[in-house]
Symmetry: C2
């Protein structure tokens, strides 16, 4: 005999005032999520459009709030790159509004019938797509995530429970105020977009433990955040993970194509997860390809194994750690391999399971590679940079999952839903 | 710059000999999983059939090993119900073999193309169903789970990493030995079915933290096991959860049908998760239905609210805890509600999100209930007992998920898979 609810909040008690405050907020979000889940897409889209208008109208106020965050960051000596991510101007606020309008224009994922069949006893079973309920997002300094994530949650019938960083708190509060009044303007509960204003570590841990409130937690941040989620979270989560992506140039590759792909995968935007970090080259073409790619990748620091360094004299030494590293920078590990299977072995050892590419003209090699490599996306003769919700045609993206459960690869509206079985009978009982 | 692998094992170190032993075993299972993942279904099915033959041939030896577990349990004063779950005889071993043959006969889920499209730039994207990799199962005293779970894992292209209870260790070792030699007989690695023979708590915690090895952990057990998973697991998991299931008898119900459904849902097999625990009756039909169902449920202890007790004088008092309890026994909570919305509110407060049923002849009420109730399965005019992999037509079941991520409701072969995007290009790079 077991009391089925609530499941325990591991490692913290509701006697703690911070935990109690987060829980109280969570209950409000959960209640609001029930209204949003059954609201028509007309109403949810109206909220998104109202929010877009609201952001444009409040742009000056949002930029002013953001200026407080930026000034604080600068006075604390935060790096210019991070300050740039934090900074909003009227045009960036306008881009957030445009994003919300684009999301509103997407098809509603809710209500899609995923399948249905009739059992021999006459039971009619349907599997229907429904919202998750409460989607929690924990993220770092970019204030546009507040608007983007909330928009995707509402479009997919979910409430958004947001925990941004302390460094962006003024910006986030200003943006959330606009989103909440947009919800109210169409008759939806404001609590369907709720920001956790307490940016303490204790509150973050409590946030990760809102079991019975949070249906899915999506962390958007670096390894420290992921480690904290693994340690503390008791709610279900989807990890938006690292991308230690490889490009393998096969013996049967078109080397001009390989050069274009490697350069694009490494340099087109090196700071993102789908950028390539390691180049693997088949020994048969290494003599020709490595000197050539070293020139094409001028400005990129190359770290190679012995055979690579023999062909690229300027390359540094790649050790085990280098091959395991997601540089997110103009740096790349290189290795020469003797076969596609050696390339696959190397990838198996170091992959983070994000995106892996092969350049080859050989059909059997391409099939072998796509079959054997275990990653969210495997690409043949294309840049890893395409593994992205927009580039896949999803119209949006809330992250890229490197886990295998629930969602794998770019996540958009469908990945913010779950399914429900609806069974219709005429009095059937089980024999 | 971040080393993307391995992610930290939270709260334990590889210096610990138990952790090191579990990790070493895990690496072997992972290596074996790669072979199984790309083996043809012909080979995997041959392994299942060989295992079925092997179980039958080894039946006497398995029963003898089981007798050691049974004798130990009896000497420790374990309850007869639990001993019965543990006990094997030749016929039960035969049923395990039959189960493996049935699983072998099911369609292979691996390789199914879930979708595909072409992007404007010519990229051809396909989403293909692939095995998870290593599926870990942690379970209690039933030794048949060893064979059933391993069979479903192999059928879906996964390796099975099993951790049964100490009380069934001799039985499990005997069964796993058969499964492993069946794998070897068809040329697959024996390690694709691996039992953690160390049944200590420390080893169980290490088992839940095999990040980078275990792709999905499925706990099959009670609330204590679930709490331990929430506290310790760092690997992704799917909770096979409680069923605090309700049947709501609406004002527009056919009361004869309602009686059949309530009796079936409560009494046909009270110890399982899809049995009903609470009966909700609309006030308009309570006068007629409650006395009638009290007779039909003779032998079931009823606990009711005030209005129920006025109509069923023999009923006990149902408090908040009773409504929250999954009795798994011949006991049932009862409440009278004034509307379908009151029924929905009651369910919202107490549901574990498993299976919820309504009995009604009114179309709008049925639609309102199926839309508003948030559970893995919502049934109209049918017994909750149908929410089951076999009854849904999946041919098998590894559990019933009450979570919303990855799998919700009965889980079978499809739920033991993930997806991989395969992208074919002709040299595309991102602008």
């Amino acid at each position: 005999m077991t009391a089925s609810k609530p499941l325990p909040h591991t490692g913290s008690t509701a006697d703690d005032p911070i935990v109690a405050a987060v829980s109280a907020l969570g209950v409000k979000v959960r209640d609001a999520s029930r209204v949003v889940a059954t609201a028509s897409s007309l109403v949810r889209d109206a909220a998104l459009l109202a929010a877009a208008d609201g952001l444009e109208q409040a742009a000056v106020a949002i930029v002013a709030a953001n200026a407080v965050d930026v000034a604080r960051a600068e006075s604390e000596g935060v790096s210019p790159t991070v300050v740039d991510r934090l900074r909003l101007d009227v045009s960036r606020v306008g881009a957030m509004a445009t994003g919300l309008r684009q999301v509103a224009a997407l098809a509603d994922p809710v209500g899609e019938v995923l399948g249905g069949w009739v059992r021999p006893n006459g039971l009619r079973i349907e599997q229907v797509r429904v919202p998750l309920g409460v989607v929690a997002i924990i993220y770092e300094n970019r204030p546009n995530v507040t608007s983007d994530a909330a928009g995707l949650c509402l479009k997919s019938g979910n409430a958004a429970f947001l925990r941004g960083s302390s460094g962006a708190i003024e910006s986030n509060l200003a943006i959330v105020a606009v989103l909440r009044s947009a919800l109210e303007s169409v008759g939806l509960p404001a609590d369907a977009v709720t920001l956790l204003a307490d940016t303490s570590r204790e509150a973050a841990v409590a946030f990760m433990q809102q079991r019975g409130v949070v249906d899915c937690l999506i962390p958007r941040g670096g390894p420290a955040l992921i480690a904290s989620i693994l340690e503390h979270a008791t709610v279900p989560f989807v990890i938006d993970g690292d991308g230690n992506c490889h490009v393998y140039v096969d013996a049967a590759a078109d080397l001009a194509m390989a050069e274009r792909i490697v350069v694009n995968a490494k340099t087109q935007r090196p700071s993102v997860c789908n950028a390539a970090e390691t180049l693997l080259v088949h020994a048969d073409v290494a003599d020709e390809f490595l000197p050539r790619i070293a020139v094409a990748l001028s400005g990129v620091e190359l770290l190679g194994d012995e055979r690579t360094r023999a062909l690229i004299p300027g390359a540094g030494v790649a050790d085990d750690e280098a091959y395991a590293t997601e540089f997110l920078d103009l740096r790349m590990s290189v290795a020469v391999v003797d076969s596609v299977d050696d390339a696959i072995d190397h990838i198996r050892r170091y992959t983070s399971g994000h995106s892996e590419a092969i350049v080859t003209g050989d059909l059997a090699t391409a099939e072998h590679f796509t079959r054997q490599v275990d990653a969210a996306a495997v690409l043949v003769n294309a840049s890893t940079r395409f593994v992205d919700g927009e580039e896949f045609g999803f119209g949006a993206e809330i992250g890229i999952s490197t886990q295998k459960l629930h969602a794998r690869g770019p996540m958009a509206l469908r990945e913010l839903t779950t399914a429900k079985y609806i069974v219709h009978g005429s009095g059937q009982v089980r024999a």
